[in-house]
Amino acid sequence: MKTPRLRLVPPKRQTVNKDNATGPVLHTNLTIIEVSDPFLLQTLRADRRIGAAITVQLSDRVAVVQPRQADMVIKQLLKAGHTPKVIDV
């Protein structure tokens, strides 16, 4: 019969319960659309192609574009007659 060997087990880390976390969250590498007139954003969201890529609004003038769809959105904006100011930060 084998004798059970003792193993050193490192103590468990004290993890923060993030479900209850209330601090700020940093969102990086986002593509954002900003308009001067809230009505313009509503118009964009009503567009079948552009609207599908804009899933969330941060305010009535700022919306987030789905990742990897920035080029498509810019192309569609130009196609729709808009002249967006594209800023590569």
Partner: protein
């Protein structure tokens, strides 16, 4: 690190242009021949080190250098003068043929070489090798060569792409004009001809550069050629091919490819950080600011060494286009032609194209051919008279071959690149497009670049070249948005500017017509020109005040662009409450801009990094989306708060409904799916989204239901109700989903096979409505069961 110890440690590099580094790589026999120039016959008694020392010491002694130079033959003097003209270093093949084209008598070459294979290469390098053997010129070595070189002479088994000489030798040399060719000027009553003005050439190159800038990344293949989709895009954007290809006077097919390769060869393109891509280098703009002659010199040097482009490929010539060494024959021909233009008897006279072809043949035709070189091999022991007869026959055939291949190439080179670079003017003796009917002469620019540099300033009369215009008025902007540019007054910077802000229309001559459109102005603003600069520069270059309607429209277009901004790759800090956000922003002003109720759009200022450092969690949107959703079989979604991101709620809202009964839950229903479909979503995009977001597999029943709600597939199910209830499902996938569903299990009494279920009769109606809710159409007929129904 010494040059010798670099082997294996670093990629191979060329040695510096220094004799002290090169000489130790040669054997004693090679060095003895070189040292003979400096110490005479005694060199044969010296060992390798002593020979090296003798040459190095000789070069360091101005008196010894002067003595060596005094003893040089006219050919050697002209050769070193030519190398000085090139700036101490030259490409081997180009320099070898230029030595012949100088026209000075060379040592007999045939006698020095055997009948061996590749005799033509030995003949072509014959003149160069007389300089190399004396050590007046050396082939530039690599730092990782093996052993010592037994024969420094260029040939089949020893080749170096560049040759150079010591600057102390070249200091005392003068650039010698080539011996003039035996040409008779063409005299005709009307010899006006046609030629491009320098400004027209600059305009073409500026157009190319600006178009490349607009297109952005230049895609190339792994072999260094332009990618075909990019060629198509560039050709379409420039629109040169049709006009240049069909030109009756100077047709120039592949003009787009030529000017692109010319820019690359002249060093105006640079590699991008990404693999297999190029971009316009800042050096291009600096070049356009230089005088026309300096620009043309750069283009001529680039043209001489062009690869991946040929003026004309004789049908009998086979070569691998992807192999840069295959283009060496064409660079040799270009060098010969350019040197021939420098050797014209009169820089202002007209000459027949066929005559200059013959003159070039006289100098190199017996050493070089674009095709396979068929040399003359006198039979051993043949009588002198027979050999002369045989040689005459060979010369006749060789000249005929030259006229078919090389003369046609010269025609294409003259009518194509040399004419379109503004170096030669062309005229026709008759309407027949044959080399014999075309006459040419150097333009003032061609003379300044090709002819005069070989002659002292006092010997040649100065050429009146137009000067580059200052940034003064040079165009007229009309109220209909047309811009008429006067080329004789426009600077390269102004041409580049107007190329960026307007679209060029077909035009020729001294003016160019552009048109301002909303798209071109938008592209200019996107390229970095501010609205103020746009109007200011357009006004400054205008002969008359800018029309008011143009000013107003430009301002409107610029203002319209400000209405909608797309920020790529920004960072946003999300706070739990507006109060916390405002407090953080007040504590670190300038770190960002408040957006909405709880967000800060972070700036690129250093203080924003301090603010971002307080984030409890970081979500990157470059990475795949966070798996933060779980879903039950009835379509209820729960978001895990610790893993959520900004987008998930928005995605859910597109194809699910908020569950009013429980906070933070969402539910997917037939109505929500149909609403998403009408908003542009497809069932594939919904399922793909779920696949990336769910923390577990999508329940099969929900998968079936979503597809059914989306109308992708009608699910033919058949139900037969006897005393007890039988559910028969014809679709195996649906049957599996139903069989595995925990939601539907309470309705089943048992299973009769893979696709048949026994349903409790007391819950028939509830089961039927449940199926209908999931999009399963229930019928009344029972299909006949096959023999394998139990399986």
């Amino acid at each position: 690190m010494s040059w010798g110890s670099r082997r294996y440690a670093l990629p191979p590099q060329l040695f510096p242009l220094d004799y002290a580094v090169h000489l130790p790589t040669y054997t004693a026999d090679v060095l003895k021949q070189m040292a003979r120039v400096w110490v005479g016959k005694d060199a044969s008694k010296l060992n390798k080190d002593a020979c090296t020392k003798a040459i190095i010491n000789g070069l360091a002694n101005p008196t010894a250098v002067r003595a060596v130079i005094d003893g040089l033959s006219p050919f050697e003097r002209a050769g070193l003068g030519l190398l000085k003209h090139h700036g101490q270093i030259a490409r081997t093949d180009e320099f070898a043929v230029e030595l012949f084209m100088l026209g000075y008598p060379t040592p007999p070459l045939e006698r020095a070489y055997s009948y061996g294979f590749n005799r033509s290469a030995s003949l072509l390098y014959g003149g160069l090798n007389t300089l190399i053997k004396k050590g007046l010129v050396l082939g530039r070595e690599w730092d990782q060569g093996y052993g010592s070189t037994h024969d420094a002479a260029m040939g089949e088994y020893y080749y170096r792409p560049e040759v150079f000489s010591d600057h102390r030798l070249l200091t005392h040399m003068e650039t010698t004009p080539p011996v003039t060719l035996s040409l008779t000027p063409f005299v005709a009553g009307d010899a006006s001809g046609m030629a491009l003005q320098p400004a027209e050439v600059v305009l073409r190159l500026v157009s190319m550069v600006e178009t490349l800038r607009k297109l952005g990344r230049i895609d190339i293949t792994t072999k260094g050629r332009l990618a075909k989709p990019f060629v198509a895009k560039l050709t379409k954007a420039l629109g040169w091919e049709e006009a240049a290809g069909k030109s009756a006077n100077a047709p120039f097919p592949q003009v787009t490819s030529f000017f692109f390769q010319l820019l690359q060869s002249a060093g105006c393109l640079q590699s991008r950080p990404e693999l297999n891509s190029l971009e316009v280098s800042p050096q291009a703009n600096a070049l356009f600011e230089k005088p026309y002659s300096a620009q043309a010199t750069a283009w001529v040097n680039g043209y001489r060494s062009l690869t991946h482009w040929t003026e004309y490929t004789p049908s009998a010539l086979y070569f691998e286009d992807d192999d840069p060494s295959a283009h060496r024959k064409f660079t040799v021909m270009r060098s010969a032609l350019l040197m021939a233009l420098a050797a014209l008897p009169d820089a202002t006279a007209w000459y027949r194209l066929s005559d200059i072809s013959d003159a070039i043949y006289e100098r190199i035709g017996e050493y070089f051919s674009l095709l396979y070189f068929q040399g003359f091999y006198p039979a051993y022991g043949r009588k002198v008279a027979d050999e002369a007869k045989q040689r005459a026959e060979w010369r006749k055939k060789n000249r005929e071959r030259w006229q078919l291949a090389e003369q046609t190439w010269i025609l294409h080179a003259m009518v194509g690149p040399l004419y379109h670079l503004g170096l030669v003017a062309l005229a026709r003796e008759s309407n027949e497009p044959t080399p014999a009917s075309i006459v040419f002469r150097l333009t003032p620019l061609g003379r300044a670049v090709l002819y005069d540099p070989f002659r002292p300033a006092s010997a040649s009369t100065t050429v009146d070249l137009p000067t580059m215009g200052p940034d003064g008025p040079c165009w007229i902007v009309q109220p209909n948005f047309d811009v008429v540019v006067y080329l004789d007054r426009a600077s390269a910077a102004q041409l580049a500017f107007v190329e960026r802000i307007a679209a060029r229309k077909p035009s020729s001559g001294a003016t160019v017509l552009y048109h301002l459109t909303r798209e071109t102005v938008y592209a200019a603003l996107e390229s970095g020109i501010t609205p103020d600069i746009l109007i200011e520069r357009l006004s400054r270059g205008c002969d008359y005040p800018l029309p008011e309607n143009i000013k107003q429209t430009l301002a409107d277009w610029a203002a319209r662009r400000e209405q909608l901004s797309v920020y790529r790759s920004v960072d946003v800090l999300e706070f739990p409450t507006q109060e916390e956000r405002d407090a953080a922003l007040a504590k670190r002003p300038g770190s960002g801009t408040a957006v909405g109720e709880r967000y800060i759009l972070l700036s690129r200022e250093p203080q924003s990094k301090t603010l971002a450092a307080h984030a409890q969690r970081v979500v990157s949107y470059i990475a795949p989306p966070a798996r933060c959703l779980s879903v039950t079989e009835d379509g209820t979604f729960t978001i895990a708060p610790a893993r959520t991101d900004l987008l998930v709620a928005g995605e859910l809202s597109a194809w699910a409904e908020t569950d009013a009964t429980s906070n933070g839950h969402w539910r997917i229903t037939r109505q929500s799916v149909q609403k998403a479909m009408s908003a542009g979503w497809t069932v594939e995009s919904m399922l793909e989204n779920l696949k990336h977001r769910l923390q577990h597999d999508l329940p099969p029943l929900l998968f079936v239901a979503i597809r059914a709600w989306a109308g992708v597939r009608t699910l033919p199910t058949t139900v037969a109700v006897a005393t007890d209830l039988i559910l028969q499902v014809t679709d195996l996938e649906v049957a599996r989903a139903i069989g595995g569903s925990a939601l539907l299990q309470p309705y089943f009494r048992g299973r009769l096979g893979r696709q048949t279920f026994l349903v409790k009769h007391e819950s028939v109606e509830e089961f039927r409505s449940r199926l209908a809710e999931l999009g399963l159409q229930v019928g009344n007929d029972v299909a006949l069961l096959g023999p394998g129904w139990k399986d």
